[in-house]
């Protein structure tokens, strides 16, 4: 598994914790929109951001959070932050 694939798997695990009871974790895909498709409560996006910070040892700004509307966008921002670190 490549580094990026690992990140995707890790992100899926985090997101799965905030899915409503009636949304199975298998429904998370790269294209998934957190609020419109996965039905995640917008308040919980804050918690996803905090979990992502802990998992990848990065810090996300408010602007980053605004852009994190889909799984793909979140991954792109995570990759960027990690690349900037090294």
């Amino acid at each position: 598994m490549s580094e990026k694939e690992k990140r995707y798997e890790e992100l899926k695990e985090i997101v799965a914790n905030y899915l409503p009871e009636d949304v199975p974790s298998q429904s998370i895909s790269l294209e998934s929109h957190f609020i419109n498709e996965l039905n995640i409560n917008s308040a919980n996006l804050v918690d996803i951001v905090l979990d992502v910070e802990d998992a990848f040892d990065i810090m996300l700004e408010n602007e980053d959070m605004d852009k994190m509307t889909t799984v793909q966008e979140a991954l792109r921002i995570i990759d960027l932050k990690i690349d900037n670190k090294s």
């Binding site: 914790n17 905030y18 308040a43 996006l45 804050v46 918690d47």
Partner: protein
């Protein structure tokens, strides 16, 4: 026309029993829920004992979604949701369907402070300049109305959904607020009750006031001694109680089980005048509250057979007995049976009134009057007012028709409610 109001559901999360059958058995057999608390010992409390519900035995997934359980630290909220959802299902009601709320159902669920543990962690984050890391649920776990908001959402209530707060009167006041709402035709069903957090941050203020017992740390079950000559203060507690109140019409329509009828209830305040103060009751107000409740219920004082007192196990217990006696004009052997459940689980503060209302109503169901514990040595001042036979030392079989329950709280506030065994007429 005013509605008659009946009780169709009960739920409880008490230090000596979670769920109706555990709680009823514990009250019936005088089982204590008061235990030594390691954290209070570590923190140098004078009083190192307390009563708190043992929720480790409960599968919280039955009550909360996994998202709701993440970072859930508000113990009062957990107790309140257990009691509230249990009461709702006990009454045979289901949550509202997904597309619309139940406009005829509401919630009045009180508390003193909610989620202090959560608040503490949020304060640490704020003080460290790291507020952004405190997560999304600080507000909903620490706003006082968090408990009614959680319950209202879980059940889909579309009527009034609110939280009241009046110190140790809170639970009984919530019941009276729901009762009045249904009586006036503003709702058909009200989930009423109250909850209180556990832990040093809730109980510490009382320890600082030196009003908790400090000589029973090795002997917790004997510490809470309502009406006893050797009472030295109240044992702090926590938990939640909940009742479903319903218009008789709605209850009959859906063929619900009826535990009892609420026939009257009054709240008042002594205004912290005369001998009343922030922390002491004005006896005239206490008596007026009891008298008005009796009048409101349309009964004669002589009809009350059982009283569940506030009776916290402080030096004020003899005064409370005197107030009941004066208010009802009954003394000696003519006085009703009186009990206090606080001997078994301590003073659950904001949750006290609702837990004790549930216990009081269970006496109809079990056809029993629950006995007092830890008061074999009845306070001599009390025996000047009433006969010792009025203070049962053990539970006994009896089918009371009318019972009174009162709660009194800091701020010189009072609440008294009258329950009656249900009969058609």
């Amino acid at each position: 026309m005013e509605n008659r109001v009946v009780i169709t559901g009960l739920g409880v999360c008490a230090p000596n029993g979670i769920g109706l059958s555990n709680f009823g058995e514990a009250l019936s057999h005088g089982q204590s829920g008061i235990r030594f608390q390691k954290d209070l010992n570590r923190l140098n409390f004078s009083c190192q004992i307390a009563g708190s519900p043992n929720i480790e035995e409960i599968d919280l997934n039955k009550y909360f979604s996994k998202v709701q359980l993440r970072g859930l630290e508000a113990s009062g909220l957990i107790y309140g949701v257990i009691a509230g959802k249990d009461a709702w299902s006990d009454s045979g009601l289901a949550p509202a369907k997904d597309d619309a709320p139940d406009w005829e159902s509401g919630v009045v669920f009180g508390t003193g402070m909610l989620g202090v543990e959560r608040f503490r962690n949020a304060i640490y984050a704020v003080d460290a300049g790291n507020v952004r890391r405190s997560g999304s649920t600080t507000v909903i776990q620490t706003m006082a109305s968090g408990i009614s908001a959680y319950l209202g959402g879980m059940l889909g209530c579309g009527n009034q959904v609110t939280t009241n707060s009046s110190a140790c009167t809170t639970g009984t006041e919530a019941l009276i607020m729901g009762y009045e709402r249904i009586k006036l035709g503003k709702a058909s069903r009200m989930l009423v009750g109250s909850c209180s957090d556990s832990g040093p941050y809730i109980w510490g203020g009382f320890d600082a006031m030196r009003i908790l017992p400090n000589s029973y740390n090795d002997n917790p079950e004997e510490a809470s001694r309502p009406m006893s000559a050797s009472a030295t203060g109240f044992v702090p507690g926590s938990g939640a109680g909940a009742l479903v109140l319903e218009s008789l019409e709605s209850a009959l329509e859906r063929n619900a089980k009826i535990y009892a009828e609420v026939i009257g209830g009054v709240v008042n305040s002594g205004g912290q005048r005369a001998e009343g103060s922030m922390t002491a009751p004005n006896s005239r107000a206490v008596q007026a509250c009891i008298r008005s409740a009796v009048k409101n219920a349309g009964i004669a004082p002589g009809e009350i057979e059982v009283i569940n007192g506030h009776l916290t196990a402080t030096t004020k217990d003899p005064l409370e007995i005197e107030n009941w006696s004066s208010a009802l004009g009954r003394k000696g052997k003519d006085f009703p049976f009186i009990n206090s459940f606080k001997g078994m689980f301590g003073h659950c503060l904001a949750a006290a009134g609702s837990i004790e209302c549930v216990g009081t109503v269970l006496q109809f169901e079990r056809q029993q009057v629950f006995g007092n514990v830890n008061c074999a040595d009845i306070h001599p001042e009390i025996l000047k007012t009433i006969h010792k036979s009025c203070i049962p030392q053990k539970s006994f079989s009896y089918s009371p028709k009318i019972m009174a329950k009162a709660s009194f709280g800091f701020g010189d506030v009072n609440a008294c409610v009258i329950f009656k065994a249900y009969s058609k007429n």
